[in-house]
Amino acid sequence: MVRDPYKYFRIEARELLEQLGKGLLDLEKGAAGPELMPQLLRLAHTLKGAARVVKQIEISECAHALEEVLTPFRETPAALPCQDIDEVLRILDVIGGRVAALALPAEDAPAAPARPVVEEAFRTVRADVGEMDALIEGIAETHTQIKALKRGFGSLERARVLADLLAQQQSPRHHGEGARATLAGRSHALAEELGTLLAGLEQDLVASTDRVERELHQLRDAAEQLRLLPVETLFTSLERTVRDAARTLGRAAVFESRGGEVRLDAHILAVLQGALLQLVRNGVAHGIEPAAERRAAGKPEEGRVTLGVARSGRHIIFSCSDDGRGVDLEAVRRAAQRKGLPPAEIRNLGASGLLDLLLRGGISTSDTVTELAGRGIGLDLAREAAERLGGKLNISSQAGKGTLITLAVPLSVASLDALLVEAAGVVTAIPLEGVRHTLRMTAADIVQTAQGQSVVHQDSVIPFAPLSRILRQDSAAARHDRPWSAIVVQGTQGAAVIGVDRLLGAANIVFRPLPEFSALSAIVAGAWLDAEGNPQLMLEADGIIGEANRAQAANADAAAHRISILVIDDSLTTRMLEKSILESAGFEVGLATSAEEGLEAARAGRYALFLVDVEMPGMDGFTFVEQVRADPGLRDTPAILITSRNSAADLQRGKDVGAQRYIVKSEFDQREFLEHIRQLVA
């Protein structure tokens, strides 16, 4: 591999530039102490020296220019004129550009498409020294424990010698008439010594192994945390962007942030950085009004662009808001007209329709194209980033009050606080943010209502379900009157009380999504590794609540007749997938592996609906539906065709033969699917 001469310089220079930029912004806001200017000078000096070492004379000269501008204000940082701050920031940008342009060695150079520069910056994770120290101390401690384990080897050797001696004494040649009594006494003494030695050894080995195990567990947790970055890593560049945009447009705006301590996989931050820069820039360019206009509207002259970061279940929500004028809906209409959308369609669009249009891309509300706004690429970038990470973009706006854009992306790897619980021998984690209360209750606290089992908690009736039933691991063993440990889980869709066998306590866990090619579950947000390296489930509050409601409804319906659906598909996988979805929704399911078998089953049983695959060997799904329609006993039973064929002709043929619905596999949506079924069997 070709050596990269700038590998460490890149890392150091980026860190120095970030600290310099943040310091200058603090200085400009007047938020700096007397120690800041000497610190900035030290940073500039370090950068100059580092650039010289790698023979980057231009960067070194730029750093020198920084020192020249800043030195006269060493004692009086507050006196640094505005234009000098601009000049220093400009120089920082120049250095940043040069650092980014430093050539990678040929073998390390990324293959096309080239990795964007911003993402490159996140390939190196900067670790907190304290965290690194803790890791190193942990490793040292593990070594100490292993040495303690090794001390046991000496005792083991002695034990072996004693065992040999014992064996020798038991050999027949020692069993002469006179020696018997003496030998018995000696053997007894040796055996006692051996027993004592082994007991001590066992105790030491167990204790040392436990300590090593505990230490290694903590080490792994610490190491996993190290690869996560706090979101605040992004804030300096966002603050700088707001400042520059406001300066360019002659507005007054400040950047505020919340949730910087949330730690995320560097990969997410890398993809989002560009999008967030655009969103805060948009906030200034499209939102914040000129000072006079704000004054007239009774707002503070200085506008605010705020980025909040928060975790919600398996998603991380970035919300970018401004207190500006809100989206100009008429401008969206005009832009849509310019794009050539039919006028009638545009006229019918309400506020949310127009905002959706804005999100769809290629439309800008700015009538003039400037350096900062007007090409409609801001939201496009945010939408692309959201799509790339499998997330969603949302926009809401209120005229005169401001705009809120939220970007929700699923977490890849993240650390979070969770409550660990045990139910039916299975340990699972529930995010602490979804836990409202924990309760101790008896069977008498569970009331049977018309809706099923419920618990009265703080004057509200909340559905109750044992976690083991939600996880489908209920061994149906009756709990009799044993008390329950219960958790009141709060989600966006309400609350539920979940009964568990034990509360194991709160823990910070590093969780990851379920691996590729796994079955998906609405209840499971992801997995985390326990001390033995085995994955355990991390549940999702909304999923738990949905399932508790279903369990409650299923309880209530238990006596009522269950609706039967016949699934006809030649693929075992599809049959089983559909069966599991339908059974979870409370339906009874019959299965057939071919259309011919399906016809027989349909005539023999009483089904409320047929779910039919189109492509099957022998009779296909179209023919099956045709035959059903021709059969007086079956003609009124609705049928849904499921297929990977999505041409208009196939769709039409489905209708022609008399299928009520036609579901294309690639567009399969579980909720819609169940909705169709419920409508048809109602």
């Binding site: 379920l514 090619f517 079955a519 996988t573 949506d669």
Partner: protein
């Protein structure tokens, strides 16, 4: 140098030459072409898995089940810090699933593991013993070849076909993501 030392020296050089020679020769030179298989039991029947398609063999690995999963999906398991889905080879080959099987193989081509009942042994078989199934032989969609030697007859699990089915199912289920 004494006579005894000289003799020892000769023996050492002969051993060294033989050792080097064993590395210089191409493996299998002059012998017939062979393939390696794992002989396993799935349900009540013996099967073979091509060793080249296997990344690892594990016993008694804990598997964490997922609620509401299809019967062929057993759950997830951890392999050196990586979480991998585990599928039930019994269900995929049309056998009824009972308790969690003891053995697992991880696939070489993608991060998926397969569980089965019993691992019998390693088989090294001439490539000529690998044949197409005949007549009423094994007609399962995931069996396209059989091992047929004088003392052994086993269907070969078609790992590629199973992996394709799993990939297709993942695509089918992808639309459910995010719900």
């Amino acid at each position: 140098m004494s006579g005894a030392e000289a003799g020892l020296g000769r023996t050492a050089s002969e051993l060294k030459r033989a050792f080097d020679q064993s590395f210089a020769e191409l493996p299998g030179t002059g012998e017939q072409q062979v393939r390696d298989f794992l002989a396993i039991r799935v349900g009540a029947d013996g099967y073979a898995i091509d060793l080249a398609e296997v990344a690892g063999l594990f016993a008694d690995k804990p598997v964490t089940r997922l609620p509401n999963a299809a019967p062929e999906f057993l759950g997830i398991a951890g392999f050196r810090g990586i979480v991998i889905p585990v599928y039930d080879l019994r269900v995929l080959l049309g056998y009824p699933a009972k308790e969690m099987p003891r053995w697992l193989v991880t696939a070489a081509a993608m991060p998926v593991a397969f569980a089965f009942d019993v691992f019998h042994r390693h088989l090294r078989i001439s490539t000529q013993a690998v044949a197409k199934p005949e007549g009423a032989d094994f007609t399962h969609q995931h069996v396209r070849q059989v091992l047929r030697a004088p003392d052994i007859a086993r269907p070969i699990v078609d790992m590629a076909s199973i992996l394709t089915a799993i990939k297709n199912q993942a695509q089918y289920g992808a639309a459910r993501k995010g719900q």
